[in-house]
Symmetry: C2
Subunit: 246 residues, 2 copies
């Protein structure tokens, strides 16, 4: 049996007008404390479009791939240029390539990351600032109609966040090096959008082997609570949107 070899080669390159252009976009999740709400709000930054198509609508931060940069580099560069955010690690999430997702044919390679509140730009994250601005953080649970297929992309990123991220990784990505079990549970409740039973949660965390109790305690207005840290010895098969990795 002999079949045609269709794999890319220069001589059989598609005509320029048939080429799909490659873009990158990034979903950055962080947590924000809003007045009058018990739980932190899961938020992500969006950029208002100033040109057609979809002028005036909000979109994920992103831009075109340059010929001279890798996909990872393009994601970091366009995120920084559009929002000023520079997470130390972005993970590739998925490539979106539906034919009708843009007026011209565009394949978007989407990246994601979790960002601790102290890493996020305070200027950006302060929703009370009333100066006109084309970059704002939005509540992930109540987004407006976004440009392109970006609502669908955020839905997919939320699905992955809810399903795939282990306790330790959430902790590492959104809470920093040490945290109480109540703080960790609160993060989970924010992401899942529902309350979790504290005793069940503690049992699951302790059984997971991914957290290590420290000798330190959080003190303050409540009774002291033990601080935990991420167990770096656990070899995680699962990659997630972990901000700290070269």
């Amino acid at each position: 049996m002999t079949r045609t070899n269709l794999f890319p080669d220069s001589s059989a390159a598609p005509a320029a007008e048939d080429v799909a252009r490659v873009a990158v976009s990034t979903v950055i999740f962080s947590l924000r404390r809003d007045a009058g709400r018990d739980l932190p709000t899961l938020v992500l930054p969006l950029v208002r479009r100033t040109r057609d198509p979809f002028e005036g609508l909000w979109a994920l931060p992103g831009g075109w791939l340059d010929a001279s940069e890798s996909l990872d580099a393009a994601a970091s560069r366009t995120l920084e240029e559009t929002t000023g955010l520079a997470p130390s690690y972005l993970e590739q999430l998925y490539a979106f390539g539906a034919v009708d997702r843009s007026p011209t044919r565009v394949v978007s390679i989407v990246y994601w990351a979790l960002l601790r509140a102290d890493e996020a730009s305070m200027e950006l994250i302060d929703s009370t600032k009333d100066a006109p601005d084309n970059v704002l953080w939005f509540d992930a649970a109540s987004l407006p109609r976004l440009a392109f297929d970006h609502n669908e992309i955020v839905d997919y990123a939320l699905w992955r966040l809810r399903n795939k991220v282990g306790y330790s990784r959430i902790a590492h990505g959104l809470l920093g090096d040490e945290f109480t079990l109540a703080e960790l549970r609160e993060v989970y409740e924010s992401i899942l959008g529902r309350s979790l039973d504290p005793a069940n949660f503690r049992r699951q965390v302790e059984n997971s082997g991914t957290l290590i109790p420290t000798d330190r305690f959080r003190t303050g207005s409540h009774r002291p609570a033990r601080l935990y840290r991420y167990n770096r010895d656990v070899e995680l098969a699962e990659r997630g949107p972990l901000p700290v990795r070269h």
Copy 2:
């Protein structure tokens, strides 16, 4: 703060010569029984290149994205055109976009699937056939130097297969509807390249909740062994290279 909105729009499209072209490639894993080996061999189909670049080297099945088809459709079409294989479900694995991975700039969206031996083309999978052929199945553990960055892509796919695929999904993808625990363990041993303790393996499978024992037994030269099936009630958070889905 006002920043430039870099997200794709027609007016700011990159010049044609700067555009990275988009290709798709597919990694198909199956198992093959080789004479003189205890365990089945994990194999994947490769296509010999008939043109530069990398003429004469083997490459993953694939081809260019057409302007009028989705990424999924392009993966299915190019796989069928190059190898004759048509798995019912392909999952997107990763987008590879290193600047130097091809003489011209190409971003490859890579898909993958597991294929049962009876789904794989017998003509393709029969390595004893000595007619000249530009499509062959190779032992995943001992590949030659492949075209482009395809060795790296296969290494990544193997890493994902070894780390991310649950018992039930492996069973579903490579074994069919019903199987014994010994058959399932053999699949795992083939993939991991090492022996597993039968008692530990049984315990892990039974604790996973992803398999259901049936009332049927495999009979033959050995003592009868109970058949198990995939528990479809388990909502799998993890998506994997599952061949059977809508």
